[in-house]
Symmetry: C4
Subunit: 127 residues, 4 copies
């Protein structure tokens, strides 16, 4: 172990996209279907993070969260208290993540509609 | 909620590749096998999107769709009415996506041949 | 349909890495475990593609394949006649793909050791 | 087969992030849940690799490993003897990988909590 992490500058990008989001409305098994927008902030500065959700047929909606310095938060799409907005289930959508300091973002989904099914990808940096 | 999204410039890239596509011709369970080419257009301009499909042993085929301003469309490979062309099932292929304005693209597949199986990745930006 | 694809320049990169490869030696169900290195060549020039496989405890091995102009090939790791070399099963390895013309590469695995399990990711462009 | 690999310069990046890590504490079936941080070093120089793990509510922890020249190592998160630290199970976390020479990194997870479930993505290059 060392103290390198206490001196790191911000790493990553300020704007990320996740074009394929979907929150299944049903689940079998013990774990509910959910998505996670996972944000890593290695810098010494708290990140102000804005999330905007895009849909096929309605206006985008936005919300804000914070990711502390040298912390990693897995933002759950099924937990309105965590992301500040209740997302509609069973609707295709996308997410744009904007951060006050450079961060990195990965997106994962547990689809438990017919079993326990995972998929993941890096979000796409755009700025 | 805020109005930031009404003023965004285009974000992303104009050309994307998905080298591993495959539309399974059979399905078990309630949800049919399908793929989704998910396009996010955060700009204020409608995107004219050209899709070209490449194969191992035949000439490419092309089609066109539109993605409205500030909208996200999940283009289903199994819905000819959505993408404007009927894709062959059970054939390895690839997809090139070209957009009139910068967008982002993610590819996902539900393979229901032997269960309910998901995978996803960002498309690859090339221009 | 249009003729745009007949005039495309090469798109993508000449060198790609896939750090996590693994060819399961066993399978349940009808489809054998396999991996696919999927290469998309949108250019008008045939691509000479060199594959080098890296391991934890032995020297790399190399082989060569061709991807025709305007074609997409899904190279199967379990088909020695397709890639020109017999890969060891049940051994962690990685793959470096080098192409004479820019291409794009995606990696997918069907792990059928305990069911029908898929995962995919873009290969990583390095040059 | 050829000798090209003996002359390669380093390829990739020196710093990578994986924002979505999670080591399931339980498993059904024959294979235990685990994650793999897969590092490919195509260069002729051994890579000194530092791993730092970030959490939601505690300080990061760091460890070090080595990846020999022209070798590929799949670092298992469930094998403390392999990575030099015992990671907590059932806790969301992230990983930062720093290498003395450019390398590439891919992250995969086998979640065997309710079956045999795989997901993978490239790590995100940041420097």
């Amino acid at each position: 172990m060392n103290d390198e992490t206490t001196e790191l500058a911000a790493e990553g990008h300020r704007v990320w996209h996740v074009p394929d989001c979907f929150l299944p409305g049903t689940s079998v098994g013990d774990t509910p279907s959910h998505e996670a927008f996972c944000v890593l902030n290695v810098s010494g500065t708290e990140a102000q993070v804005g999330l905007t959700f895009y849909f096929a047929d309605r206006e985008p909606i936005s919300t804000d969260v914070r990711v502390p310095a040298r912390r990693n938060i897995h933002l759950r799409s099924d937990q309105a208290e965590m992301i500040g907005v209740a997302l509609p289930a069973d609707v295709p959508y996308a997410c744009r993540i904007r951060s006050s300091v450079p961060v990195t973002v990965q997106y994962s989904r547990l689809d438990a509609q017919e079993g326990y099914e995972l998929m993941t990808t890096s979000a796409i940096p755009v700025a």
